[in-house]
C-alpha cells in the first residue's frame, strides 16, 4: 500500500498525514505536488487539510481544479481509496466527487477541539472497521456541511452518511453538532463507498501522545483494503 499525500500551496496538514501514515499506521507514503498529472504507482490518495490557495473564492475551489485532480477522479472511478480531511473534504465536494458543500460555521468561530463521531455507514471500506464512538480533533472555520433535502434523503438511503457528530455516549444532540452541519453530518462517502470526506482529522489521532488513537479505526482501512484490491 502506497499512499499519495497531495500537496497544494497552502496545505498545512500534509506532514501530519505523511507521518501518521508512515510512522503510526506503517504504510508507504509519498508527497505529490498539485501540478502532477500522474498517480501511477500509488494505491490510495490522501487530500490533506490546510488553506489551499489561501481559501480564495471558496475553500477548496481552486484546489479542486488543480492538474492532479483528474487523477483523483480516476482513482475515485476505479474504486481505489480516496480520503479528504478538512480542506481535503472541501476539495472533494468542490470537485464534485462528493455531494454537498461546506460553509462558515454557524457560530462563526474557528473551532479547534476534540469531537465525537458515530459511524452511520458500517459497510464501506472506510467505516467497516469502526466499532465504537470515535474521539477525533477538528480544526476548522468552514465546516458546516450543507446539502439540499432531496440529496440528503438519497445519502441516507444509499448509506453515504459516513459520520455524524454525537455526544460522548453516541447520542445525537444539538450541542454535539459543533458547527451546525445539516443532519449533524461530519463526513460523507461517494455512492461506491471508496471516497471519504470528513471535517475531523483522523491523521491527528494516531498516537497516544497526541491524545487519541481513534484515527486508526478509519485509517486502518488502508492496511486492510490492499488484500481486497
Amino acid at each position: 500500500m502506497k499512499v499519495a499525500v497531495l500537496r497544494f500551496p497552502g496545505s498545512n496538514c500534509d506532514q501530519d498525514a505523511y507521518f501518521s501514515l508512515r510512522d503510526d499506521l506503517g504504510v508507504e507514503a509519498e508527497y505529490v505536488w498539485h501540478e502532477s498529472t500522474s498517480l501511477t504507482g500509488f494505491d490510495a490518495v490522501f487530500l490533506p487539510g490546510g488553506f489551499s490557495y489561501g481559501d480564495y473564492l471558496r475553500c477548496g475551489a481552486m484546489a479542486a481544479r488543480a492538474p492532479v485532480m483528474a487523477e483523483v477522479s480516476r482513482f475515485a472511478a476505479e474504486g481505489k481509496p480516496v480520503i479528504g480531511a478538512c480542506n481535503g473534504f472541501q476539495m472533494l465536494c468542490e470537485a464534485g466527487l462528493l455531494p454537498g458543500a461546506l460553509l462558515l460555521n454557524a457560530e462563526q468561530r474557528f473551532i479547534c477541539k476534540d469531537v465525537y463521531l458515530k459511524a452511520e455507514n458500517r459497510t464501506s471500506l472506510w467505516t467497516r472497521n469502526v466499532d465504537k464512538v470515535l474521539r477525533i480533533p477538528i480544526a476548522h472555520g468552514e465546516g458546516r456541511y450543507v446539502v439540499d433535502q432531496v440529496t440528503a434523503e438519497t445519502l441516507e438511503r444509499n448509506g453515504q452518511i459516513a459520520f455524524r457528530y454525537v455526544d460522548p455516549t453516541g447520542d445525537l444532540t444539538d450541542a454535539a453538532n459543533v458547527n451546525g452541519s445539516a443532519y449533524s453530518i461530519a463526513g460523507v462517502l461517494n455512492e461506491r463507498g471508496n471516497v471519504l470526506g470528513l471535517m475531523p482529522h483522523p491523521e491527528r489521532a494516531t498516537r497516544a501522545l497526541l491524545g487519541s488513537t481513534d484515527g486508526f479505526q478509519i485509517l486502518n482501512a488502508l492496511k486492510l483494503v490492499v488484500s481486497n484490491l
Binding site: L57, A61, P99, L103, L104, N105, A106, Q108, G180
Partner: protein, 82 residues
C-alpha cells in the same frame, strides 16, 4: 495600432436564500448595535469583475458554472457594464 476595447462584466455571487449566512448575521447584529433598528437582515455576496475582449454570454455563464459560483450553495447574476 488599434486600441483594444474591453468589455467589463460583473458577476454577482450570492448564497442561496435558504442557507444561513452566518457572517451576514454577525454584520447585521453589529449594525443593530450601532442603532440601525430598521435593519432586519444582512447577507454578504461577492462581486467579481471580468474584463473580456468580446462578451459572449454563453462563455461567461460557463465561467460561472465551472468555477466562479458553486451551484450547490450559490446563485449568480451577470451584468454587462460596458
Amino acid at each position: 495600432m488599434p486600441k483594444l476595447v474591453m468589455t467589463t462584466v460583473r458577476v454577482y455571487v450570492t448564497l442561496k436564500p435558504s442557507l444561513l449566512d452566518s457572517a451576514g448575521r454577525t454584520v447585521a447584529q453589529a449594525l443593530q448595535k450601532l442603532g440601525y433598528d430598521e435593519l432586519h437582515q444582512t447577507r454578504i455576496g461577492k462581486l467579481i469583475e471580468l474584463q473580456v475582449e468580446t462578451y459572449d454570454e454563453v462563455r461567461v455563464k460557463a465561467m460561472c458554472d465551472s468555477l466562479l459560483a458553486n451551484p450547490v450553495i450559490e446563485d449568480y447574476q451577470i451584468e454587462v457594464v460596458a
